[in-house]
């Protein structure tokens, strides 16, 4: 789960990492206690908000009111701004980049640091980003901190301050089961202290049960995706108009890929998983119908799951609830012939190969 900047900074505060004085603002009253000049920052779970006009400096209350009303409700790459953080401006001497992420290859946390803070890290040259890995069996050690900070050419006190921030964010990263903790920029202020101007914290969804203090906020999901998540169904909305239902994430992805080959475009990724439970099949079709695809493509491979059992569930739903778009099916594996008979009987189109099914679906959906 990606935390909004202000929530990430609340966690920073908990771990003793300095952040600018600030708070969420909804109207003029909320500015009391803050000293101008301020920065107003749209809270959205996506990058690029600066370019989109979601970050604005303000010099006085009047200015602030005006710009606040511009930012609130603004659309930034699909997200409507509902929260704005107002922060006092820092006296910036130097901007650094610091993050801890998961290195999938080494299976370890990876610390990254750069003297080129304040810009998109993907645009920084590889040789200007320094890395240090932490073995999860022993956690962060002094030598890790020494090794990486020595590359940043900091003064003695600045280096000490940055060391403390690094050991604190490692603690946060570990204790809150993070996938990413990023501070960009981490600034050295005029008086030599170290402060996090931004926060990007992603907590591993699968570990949320260990963190009841972090209220889930499914800001990145569409309403249908939220609904699916609550029902425990892997359901993702995409840009196309063909709804794909398959079993297994890999097979569902491969099915979407096959559509593209025939100029079709997936509109929904729906992974039934290993289930043949009629209730789950019903829920899946209900969700799919709400996404209003032009065509539904059902692609099943029956391994442990028996094809005919799933087919019976599908038939029951279609017969009872009706369906207002064509459904192309392609069934393979255990009891596939029985399954095909059941689906034909329910009025669905049964293709023989993945290619055929993908082509028919794409054609019916009218191409891309």
């Amino acid at each position: 789960m990606k935390l909004f900047e202000y929530r990430g900074k609340e966690l920073f505060g908990k771990y003793g990492i300095a952040v600018p004085k600030g708070k969420l603002v909804k109207d003029e009253k909320d500015f009391s206690g803050l000293n101008f000049p301020l920065i107003l920052k749209a809270q959205v779970p996506i990058g690029g908000r600066g370019k989109a006009g979601g970050i604005k400096p303000v010099d006085n209350l009047k200015d602030a009111e005006k710009k606040l009303s511009q930012i609130l409700g603004m659309d930034i790459r699909g997200y409507t701004v509902g929260k704005v953080l107002a922060e006092e401006q820092a006296d910036i001497k130097n901007e650094l980049y610091l993050s801890i992420s998961l290195d999938r290859t080494k299976r370890m946390p990876c610390i990254m640091a750069s003297a080129k803070g304040g810009m998109d890290i993907e645009s920084v040259l590889d040789e200007e980003i320094f890395k240090e890995w932490v073995n999860p069996l022993i956690g962060i050690q002094l030598f890790n901190i020494r090794n990486i900070l020595s590359k940043l050419d900091l003064g003695r006190d600045e280096s000490k301050g940055a060391s403390k921030v690094l050991s604190k964010i490692y603690k946060l990263f570990r204790e809150y089961d993070c996938e990413l903790v990023e501070i960009n920029p981490l600034v050295i202020t005029g008086d030599g202290s170290v402060m996090a101007l931004d926060s990007k914290v992603i907590i591993n969804d699968d570990a949320m049960f260990r963190h009841p203090d972090i209220a889930p906020e499914l800001v990145e999901l569409t309403p249908l995706e939220k609904d699916a998540k609550e029902k425990g169904i892997a359901f993702i909305q995409l840009d196309g108009n063909i709804g794909v239902i398959a079993n297994g994430a890999g097979l569902t992805m491969a099915t979407l890929d096959a559509l593209t080959h025939f100029k079709g475009a997936g509109g929904v990724f729906l992974d039934l998983g290993g289930t043949d439970d009629p209730e789950k099949v019903k829920q899946a079709f209900e969700l799919m119908k709400k996404a209003k695809p032009k065509v539904i493509f059902l692609n099943l491979f029956g391994g442990i799951t028996k094809c005919d059992t799933v087919a019976k569930g599908v038939k029951a739903v279609i017969t009872k609830e009706g369906i207002d778009c064509p459904v192309i099916t392609r069934i393979k594996g255990m009891n596939e012939d029985a399954a095909k008979d059941i689906l034909k009987d329910a009025g669905l189109i049964t293709a023989t190969t993945l290619q055929d099914a993908a082509q028919q679906s794409s054609d019916l959906a009218g191409g891309a």
Binding site: L102, R104, T105, R107, M108, P109, I121, E122, N135, P136, L137, R174, D177, E179, N204, D205, D206, A207, F209, R210, A234, I236, L238, D239, A246, N247, G248, A249, G250, L251, T252, M253, A254, L256, D257, A258, L259, T260, H261, A265, G266, F269, D271, G274, F301, G303, I304, K332, G333, M334, T353, L354, Q355
Partner: protein, 288 residues
């Protein structure tokens, strides 16, 4: 021969008395696997398909000589179960459980290395060496003994591919599901090295997907270390960046993990990349 598991493995199933445990113990026994013990705390003395159940892995190992474990316990207890298996001296741990926190997986992956044990998974369907043994939840019916090694990040997609191999009469030496999580114990490189060393294996099929750089790393490894022909499929060519496509590991993040990059890397390593999963069998057939 085969890789990682064969007819000698003696299996203990952790989470033996649940619905999944009971069903798959039966399936594995049917496949020929030596399932010697089950473990469920507090259920010692029970039996599942005549397999004795113990309270803990230590007792199971002492009483039955189990050397391999299948982890079927819920995600929040999985780390404890893996640690328990490793501390009891288990040398091959296959972790089926999905939704295990990444930090837990990091810890037990490295702890397995400390214990000189093989860890397969998590979030994987397991491993099958046809004619010998199956440790996991893969459907037994799709396999055929033979000389193609399969290693994959997904489940059903792999069944589909293995099944299409079988339909063409192409058997498998071992099929190993590596798991759909970002943090897994056994990687493509480990599987490649094992298949390369395995005399029975003549060709290798890799089933990858978006997310991470495991396929790119494998491609580089193939160039330097693998002499046997390798075929591949990559799922997720049309997945948008930033979305987790069902598997926790299937996500294009910060510009890393695109199918394009993986396909390019494989092609550079002379690995044939199939357009449709069902094409792989044709390609392998042509080669052999």
């Amino acid at each position: 021969m085969s890789i990682f598991v064969d007819e000698k493995n003696k299996l203990v199933v952790q989470g033996a008395t649940g619905h999944q445990g009971v069903f798959h113990i039966g399936e594995m026994l049917g496949f020929g696997t030596k399932v010697v013990a089950g473990v469920t705390p507090g259920k010692a003395g029970q039996e599942v398909h005549n397999v004795p159940v113990f309270n803990n892995v230590g007792n199971a190992v002492n009483e039955t000589g189990a050397d391999t474990s299948l982890i079927l316990v819920p995600a929040r207890f999985a780390k404890d179960a893996v640690f328990e298996a490793l501390d009891a001296g288990i040398k091959t741990v296959v972790t089926i459980t999905e939704n295990i926190p990444f930090h837990d997986a990091m810890e037990f992956v490295h702890y397995a290395k400390y214990k000189d044990a093989i860890l397969i998974g998590p979030n994987c369907p397991g491993i099958a060496s046809p004619g010998k043994s199956k440790i996991g939840i893969l459907p037994g019916s799709i396999f055929l003994e033979g000389d193609v090694g399969v290693a994959s990040r997904s489940g059903t997609l792999t069944y589909e591919i293995v099944n299409s191999l079988k339909e063409k009469g192409i058997g498998q030496s071992t099929c190993v599901g590596l798991g759909g999580d970002p943090i897994i114990g056994t990687t493509f490189i480990d599987a490649l090295d094992a298949f390369e060393a395995d005399k029975e294996t003549k060709a290798i099929v890799l089933v990858g997907e978006i997310g991470g750089t495991a396929e790119e790393d494998a491609a580089e490894h193939i160039i330097e270390h693998i002499s046997k022909p390798v075929f591949a499929f990559i799922a997720g060519r049309t997945a948008p960046p930033g979305k987790r496509m069902g598997h926790a590991g299937a996500i294009i993040a910060r510009g890393k993990g695109t199918a394009e990059s993986k396909i390019k890397a494989f092609e550079k390593a002379n690995v044939k990349v199939a357009k449709f999963p069902t094409d792989i069998a044709d390609q392998v057939e042509k080669y052999s």
